[in-house]
């Protein structure tokens, strides 16, 4: 490409949950001496932590890659945030730790409830207290499974 100096393709690392234990330090740069340090290391995918991820991505240039590691529920939320910044699937690598946690979206009141056990098929909605039946239907945008009123068809 001639004499132009071109920046190397950069990879941004974001880690969630226990993977983020080393993340108490600064959030820039990912290699410090021999110690791996992610660009972003947070306990869980919250509005605040996702905003920090978006701030990093909004400063990035095409050519960048994103690696997200952590519990599935968190990294799927991070994937949705990255997609909002214009990232495409090809640019993201998701490293799942399957721990059974799920986010459940209530079709009736639109609240999202954290569900600790994937083995359970029902959960009380944190918004409207309806007992929700948790389906396999999953929204990448909401990063949540669909929940709808359980037992609603049974006679009162």
């Amino acid at each position: 490409m001639g004499p132009m100096s071109t920046p190397p393709s950069r990879t941004i690392y974001a880690t969630f949950g226990a993977e983020a234990h080393s993340g108490a330090g600064p959030e820039t740069g990912h290699q410090s001496g021999t110690e791996f340090r992610p660009d972003l290391a947070v306990g869980q995918a919250s509005p605040d932590s996702l905003k920090r991820l978006k701030d990093v991505l909004n400063q990035a240039y095409v050519g960048v890659r994103l690696v997200i590691a952590g519990p599935s529920a968190d990294i799927l939320a991070a994937r949705a945030a990255a997609a909002e910044c214009g990232m495409v699937e090809e640019e993201m690598t998701l490293l799942h730790r399957v721990d059974g946690h799920r986010r459940v979206f209530c079709a009736h009141c639109r609240a999202t409830t954290s569900m600790p056990e994937a083995s359970a098929h029902e959960i009380g909605c944190s918004g409207c207290a309806t007992v929700l039946s948790v389906s396999e239907h999953f929204s990448r945008r909401l990063a949540a499974h669909l929940g709808y009123a359980a037992h609603a068809e049974e006679a009162a």
Binding site: M1, G2, M4, L57, A60, Y61, V62, G63, C85
Partner: protein, 318 residues
Amino acid sequence: MTATALLAGGLKLQVAEVTAQTPSITSITFTDPAGGPLPAYVPGSHLLVQCGDGVNAYSLTGSGRSPSDYSVSVLRVASGAGGSAAMHRLRAGDRVLVSRPRSAFTPMATARHHLLIAGGIGVTPMLSHARAAAEWGMAATMIYMYRPAEGAHVPELRELLDTRLVECTDRGSFRQALAEKLSSQRLGTHLYVCGPAAFMESVLASARELGWPETRLHSEPFGTPELDAGQPFRAKLTRSGIQVEIPAGVSLLEALEGADVGVPNMCRKGVCGECSVAVLRGTPQHRDLYLSEDQKASGRTMMCCVSRSLDQELELDL
């Protein structure tokens, strides 16, 4: 490509204006002789134009939103089949048959920014994209490489893009501009390139080298998705005891209907599976999306709306 089938349902238009862009590029504007509006089109679309002995595809240069005319710009190719020379002989008032606009180079709706790379006459679909972006308030940047004195549409592009147009007339400055733009685009940018094949290849290779994923790269693919007209063949119908000739450009289903042999059908596009016919002898040329690979390999069934024959004759259970 035999384009008879594509021109069926096309439009009979009149040449309204012929303008020389450069010594070798001429713009031709077509309108409806009755003065009516023309069908809208997706930015980056092309028209098939029947002119002289052949049919050629040309990119439309407008935005495609509510057009009152269709404009194309044609480079005279000395070594070509003669289509471009015939186009250059068109004069205001001449009538031509054109297809409806066909879309194969669509701007991405989700793009935050369009990076348009044009080489020579490849500027035509890029101009269409730049116009549509301006109309919808989308940001676009263009690098336009052309030979000195051979830049078509330069004044319009300067007005549309202002400082976001980078003009290059030599290879060195183009490479430099390209490297600079490729490494400074915010996430959400998509790249579109049109020009000579080697030009497109080198632009795409540079982008890949700098980490651009395929999803963000778009290049003009003339003449790909259409099914071609195919070779003529004969169908021998064992139960009806007749033979049907299927010319190029006519589907087996159409030929059967023409011979009053009804076959249940729905989509006529090779997806619904309704028009399946049993093949008793001969090898079908499968062009449908319905049959599995195994079913296709067995050769015992075919979708007569799109599929044809690899042999000169097929025997069908009809």
